[in-house]
Amino acid sequence: MDRNTTIAIIVAIIATAVFGGSDIVALIRNPDGYDGPAMVPATLLLIFLLALAAFTVGRAKSVSAAGGHLENLHSRPAYHGLYAMLWVAIAGFGTFVVMDALGLSYVTSLMGEELAAQLKAGGREMLQIEQNLVLQDARRIAEGRVASAVDPLREYLAATFAEIDGTRVVAVCAASLGMAVLAFFMTFAKIGVAFRARNSSERILRTILLMAAGIAILTTVGILLSLIGETLNFTIGVLDWRIDKFLFGTTWSPLSGVHSGDMDPDKVGAVPLFVGTFMITIIAMLVAVPVGLFAAIYLSDFASKSVRAWAKPMLEILAGIPTVVYGFFAAITVAPAIRDAGAWMGVDVAAQSALAAGVVMGVMIIPFISSLSDDVINAVPQSLRDGSYGLGATKAETIRQVVLPAALPGIVSAVLLGISRAVGETMIVVMAAGQGANLTINPLEEVTTVTVQIVMLILGDTDAATAAGPAYTLGFTLFVITLALNLVALRIVRKYREAYD
């Protein structure tokens, strides 16, 4: 079995090497006809297979080193294999990634110089942005894609690019393969009876986990920093430190003055947007919290097993409906229905209203609240319910006085999650609540929200760089508000939580 795997892997390596090798030979013979990208997957596959082979070979060596007494090994054979495999993969793929990035930037700078030299020789001048376009086209021509224009300069550059880039690919592939092979032999030499392969490979795995966590955290920090940076830019550049104009201004029309030059700091008052956002959020939560919570209570404490078996998945299907579907459902069905109902009762309702968007958004959030609450209510131990029943409490009393208080922290976090979804929801509001920045607390009128205005700013025909300022600032303010909301709620929960063990 083991021998068979080894043989299969070695055969695969040889096959790939022959294939990849012929590729390299073909390239060296005929650099112009080079068909580059095929070599990259071949190299990566080769490294992968080499890593697998390192596992098998490393394990086999440790077994033979033990000489029939596996208990003499410090680490189990699989750890020796794992150690070898991890190092080969890291050396191979790591070198590939690093070399590839470095090589690419080197090639780009070489091409820039080449272009400059060509322009100088031809006595021409070109804007930087135009140069970038030419370089991009050259690359496209070299890779056989469609370029914006084809001319002798571009074709010459394309040929140069193909030449340099071909060399780069060969260098990267050769270097990473070489490193992988080096790692293969170095780890192979290390494996022996006393070698602490388990500790070493676990250290490597721990580092990999740490890097994964680091990527998640760094990304968050990066996004946050860019938000803060753009917000500061906008605050200083457009508002000239008058943050109050943004936070307390009541007129939102940031792009009205852009064509004549600058933004008018008196027209970037975000109050209407935040009022709209919170009104719609409140309406949504008024729908979602009672319905979701009652559904959760029914599912966890009253529904029979068979009802629960189909009702819970049905509810969760609601969560799978794309918000855009809710959006046009709100715009086409609910909003007119509300308007008709209003007309019947003699109330004037706008065609697009906060009420329609809020109600549909509430329906969208129901499954989040019900599903999460159902989980936390189910997690309340049966012994607590028994204790309450044993004292002669009814089911309703037990749920209200024992189960819900015990599940409160979980329910609050479910509601918080619902609020975050409501605040961040865009599609439904774009379609059903309108885009007009009215400052109103009447849910029957058209309103707009922060997220909708961000969409309008970014998608509008204004230059993205100009529109980004208010968009980022809105995003940052929203972020700060939701963060504050979460922190406050967390404190409240901590204070009133009824912990059970």
């Binding site: 029979s304 097993k305 131990p381 012994s383 607590l384 319910r385 028994d386 204790g387 309450s388 029943y389 044993g390 004292l391 002669g392 409490a393 009814t394 009393e397 006085q401 024992v402 208080p405 015990a406 009824e498 912990a499 059970y500 063990d501």
Partner: protein, 256 residues
Amino acid sequence: MDQTTDIKIVSRDVHVYYGENEAIKGVSLEIEDNTVTAFIGPSGCGKSTFLRCLNRMNDTIDVCRVTGDIELDGHDIYAREIDPVQLRARVGMVFQKPNPFPKSIYDNVAYGPRIHGLADSKADLDAIVEHSLRRAAIWDEVKDRLDAPGTGLSGGQQQRLCIARAIATAPEVLLMDEPCSALDPIATAQVEELIHELRENYAVVIVTHSMQQAARVSQKTAFFHLGLVLEYDETGKIFTNPDHEKTQQYITGRFG
């Protein structure tokens, strides 16, 4: 025994089924008032199941079905007009694992009186809480921290709190399902002493795996085996001169 020996609970030919599985196969017992009755027997013999029939806690399990008669003071507790909720107020229960509610000590004890409307005023409720905690021999330990959460007490204190909670609804019968199995010897001794005192006011039925505990606290003992009561007699008789060979084997530790 010197106490009055009115019959509090009578069961006749009680069968309990969990789905297809028959857990209790015809149990007839008479449980006396002001007496501690112990149920002993190997695991899975049905003693806890039978105990839970006495206050209809088995109703909360969907697949469970009970046949036969159980009478409390001569009234069938499985009769249609009996509300299990009211029954459970008369037949209190203490569980194997202490299960205080995640509330303050005071609210734990006041829970029953509040839902049954036993107190007319805050002063009444205070009095019930204090009396119940005193009765459960835990008042001195918690009187200064009635607002502290009940879950913060030690295991033995939690169990006595649960007993106080059961007493607070003024039951007539107290069912205890292995009340000391999660407790250390000192806490066990305290709870056993408490059980001894509770006998003055209540009929106490206790399920236990500890032979010594049954011998120490009970006056009557029922030996359960495979869903049947093999022997039911004075505790002294069961432990010194049992009629049944299986009983003899069980109490001397030869099986179980």
